[in-house]
C-alpha cells in the first residue's frame, strides 16, 4: 500500500487525496481511520476513479491518472454520496 503514495511527490499526493475526497467520498466513509486503513481506502477509491475514466485500474496514481485529475471538471461527485 505505501507504494500507492510513495511513487508521487508532495503536492501530487495532496491533489490525489483532495480529488478522491471531493469526487469519490474518500474519508467521508473512513473518518478518523488509522494510516493503514486510509491507504487501503485510497487505493480502492483510486481504482474506482480509474475504472470510471476507462484508465488502467492499478490503484496507483500513475501519470495518466494524475493527468485526468488535473483537468477542469464539474464539482459534483462521480459517485453517490
Amino acid at each position: 500500500f505505501p507504494a500507492a503514495t510513495s511513487e508521487i511527490q508532495g503536492q501530487d499526493v495532496e491533489m490525489v487525496k483532495k480529488y478522491l475526497e471531493n469526487y469519490y467520498n474518500l474519508n467521508s466513509d473512513e473518518k478518523k481511520t488509522k494510516k493503514t486503513r486510509e491507504n487501503i481506502a485510497m487505493v480502492e477509491k483510486l481504482k474506482q476513479m480509474q475504472k470510471f475514466f476507462g484508465l488502467k485500474v492499478t490503484g496507483k496514481p500513475n501519470a495518466e491518472t494524475l493527468n485526468v485529475m488535473k483537468q477542469a471538471r464539474c464539482g459534483v461527485p462521480d459517485v453517490a454520496e
Binding site: N22, V68, Q71, A72, R73, C74, V76, D78
Partner: protein
C-alpha cells in the same frame, strides 16, 4: 447515463429559473441567451418547460459565486472545479453555482459557459455523471465546438421524465463502438508512426503500448477542429498533419494548431471553386506527391513544387483499379495505401496498382 441516487425528480414539469447575478466576463444579454439555450437542450428532448422569473424563489436559481459561498462545497479558485449543481428538490435543490474565479466565454477559449451550464442543468434535473466520453454529462471539461446532448444524455433525461411531446423523437449522436462491424470513418491519417481514425467528434488510435483501442474526443487534441473532419494526411517531412473540413484546412504539429490556419484549399493547393470539400487524402513519401480524392476523381499535388500536377483530375477507377469510385478515407503504411469506403478496406500496392487484400474497415482494432 446515471440517475442520481434516490432518483430525485421534479414532480411538476413547468419549471422556473432565475439568474440571481451576472459574471462580468460576458455581456448580460449573452449570459441570458446562453442560459436559455442550455435549458432548450433539455426541453427539446423531454416534457419539461422552463420559464425565467426575475424575483423571488425559482425552482432553479443560477448564480456566480466565489470560494466558500455557504453551501458546504466551496470553490478553490481558477481551474479544477468549475461549477456544481444540486439535485431536484426544494430550497437549494436544482440550483446551479458557477465559480466566478473562472473566465466565462462564449467561444472555444476556457471556459465555455454554454457547455458548462448545459452540463450542470443535467444535475439540476436529476442526472449524475456518465462515463461515456462523448456525453454532455461526462465530468471533465472537453469543449468540442458545439454543445449537444448525446443519445446517452437523452436516454437519461427521458428515463426520468419520459419522451418529449415533439412528434419526431430527437436522437443524439452516439459514441462510436470500435468493434461495431458497421463502423465507417470520416478520415484517417498516420501521425508520428501511429494511425488515427476519425469519426464524428471522436478519434480512435491504435498504439503498441495498449491492446485497447484508445477512443476520445478530437477536442482533447485540437478543439478548433473538433468535429466533422472529412480528410486528413500527414506530411511527415515537416511533422505536420493537415485536417480538412469543407474548403478549409488546418495544419497541426502534435497538439499545436499551427498559426495562420485555417487556410482554404483553393489558394493553397489550386483546386477549382467547383470542389467544395475533400473526401480523402494521402501523402506518398517515395514520390513526394499528395493524392486528393474528390467524388469519383482524384488529383495529384507535388508537395515540393507546391503545385497541382498537370492532367488532373483523373478517374479513381483508372488510377486505382478495383477500389470503386469513392473513397471515405485513406492512409499509407509500409508503402501500401489503405483505402476505406463504407465498411470496406482495400490494401493497395501503388507500384503494381493491385489490390492485395480486402478487409473490414475496423480490422485495425483487434476486435
Amino acid at each position: 447515463f446515471v440517475l442520481t441516487e434516490g432518483n430525485p425528480r421534479w414532480e411538476h414539469t413547468n419549471l422556473t429559473y432565475r439568474i440571481e447575478n451576472y459574471t462580468p466576463d460576458l455581456p448580460r444579454a449573452v449570459v441570458d441567451h446562453t442560459i436559455e439555450k442550455a435549458f432548450q437542450l433539455w426541453s427539446n428532448v423531454s416534457p419539461l418547460t422552463f420559464t425565467k422569473v426575475f424575483k423571488g424563489q425559482a425552482d432553479i436559481m443560477i448564480s456566480f459565486v466565489w470560494r466558500d459561498h455557504g453551501d458546504n462545497s466551496p470553490f478553490y479558485g481558477p481551474g479544477g472545479n468549475l461549477a456544481h449543481a444540486f439535485q431536484p428538490g426544494p430550497g437549494i435543490g436544482g440550483d446551479v453555482h458557477f465559480d466566478e474565479e473562472e473566465r466565462w466565454t462564449n467561444d472555444f477559449t476556457d471556459y465555455n459557459l454554454y457547455h458548462v451550464a448545459a452540463h450542470e442543468l443535467g444535475h439540476s434535473l436529476g442526472l449524475s455523471h456518465s462515463s461515456y466520453i462523448g456525453s454532455l454529462m461526462y465530468p471533465t471539461y472537453i469543449f468540442s465546438g458545439d454543445v449537444q446532448l448525446f443519445q446517452d444524455d437523452i436516454d437519461g433525461i427521458q428515463a426520468i421524465y419520459g419522451p418529449s411531446k415533439n412528434p419526431i423523437q430527437p436522437i443524439g449522436p452516439q459514441t462510436p463502438r470500435v468493434c461495431d462491424s458497421k463502423l465507417t470513418f470520416d478520415a484517417i491519417t498516420t501521425l508520428r508512426g501511429e494511425v488515427m481514425f476519425f469519426k464524428d467528434r471522436f478519434y480512435m488510435r491504435v498504439n503498441s503500448f495498449y491492446p485497447e483501442t484508445e477512443l476520445d474526443l478530437i477536442a482533447v487534441f485540437w478543439p478548433v477542429v473538433a468535429n466533422g473532419l472529412e480528410a486528413a494526411y500527414e506530411f511527415a517531412e515537416r511533422d505536420e498533419v493537415r485536417l480538412f473540413k469543407g474548403h478549409k484546412y488546418w495544419a497541426v504539429r502534435g497538439y499545436d494548431v499551427l498559426p495562420g490556419y485555417p487556410r482554404d484549399i483553393y489558394r493553397s493547393f489550386g483546386f477549382p471553386r467547383s470542389v467544395k470539400n475533400i473526401d480523402a487524402a494521402v501523402f506518398e513519401e517515395d514520390t513526394g506527391k499528395t493524392y486528393f480524392f474528390v467524388g469519383n476523381k482524384y488529383w495529384r499535388y507535388d508537395e515540393y513544387k507546391r503545385s497541382m500536377d498537370a492532367g488532373y483530375p483523373k478517374l479513381i477507377a483508372d488510377g486505382f483499379p478495383g477500389i470503386g469510385n469513392k473513397v471515405d478515407a485513406v492512409f499509407q503504411k509500409d508503402g501500401f495505401f489503405h483505402f476505406f469506403h463504407k465498411t470496406r478496406q482495400y490494401k493497395f500496392d501503388p507500384k503494381t496498382k493491385r489490390i492485395l487484400t480486402l478487409q473490414k474497415a475496423n480490422s485495425w482494432f483487434n476486435c
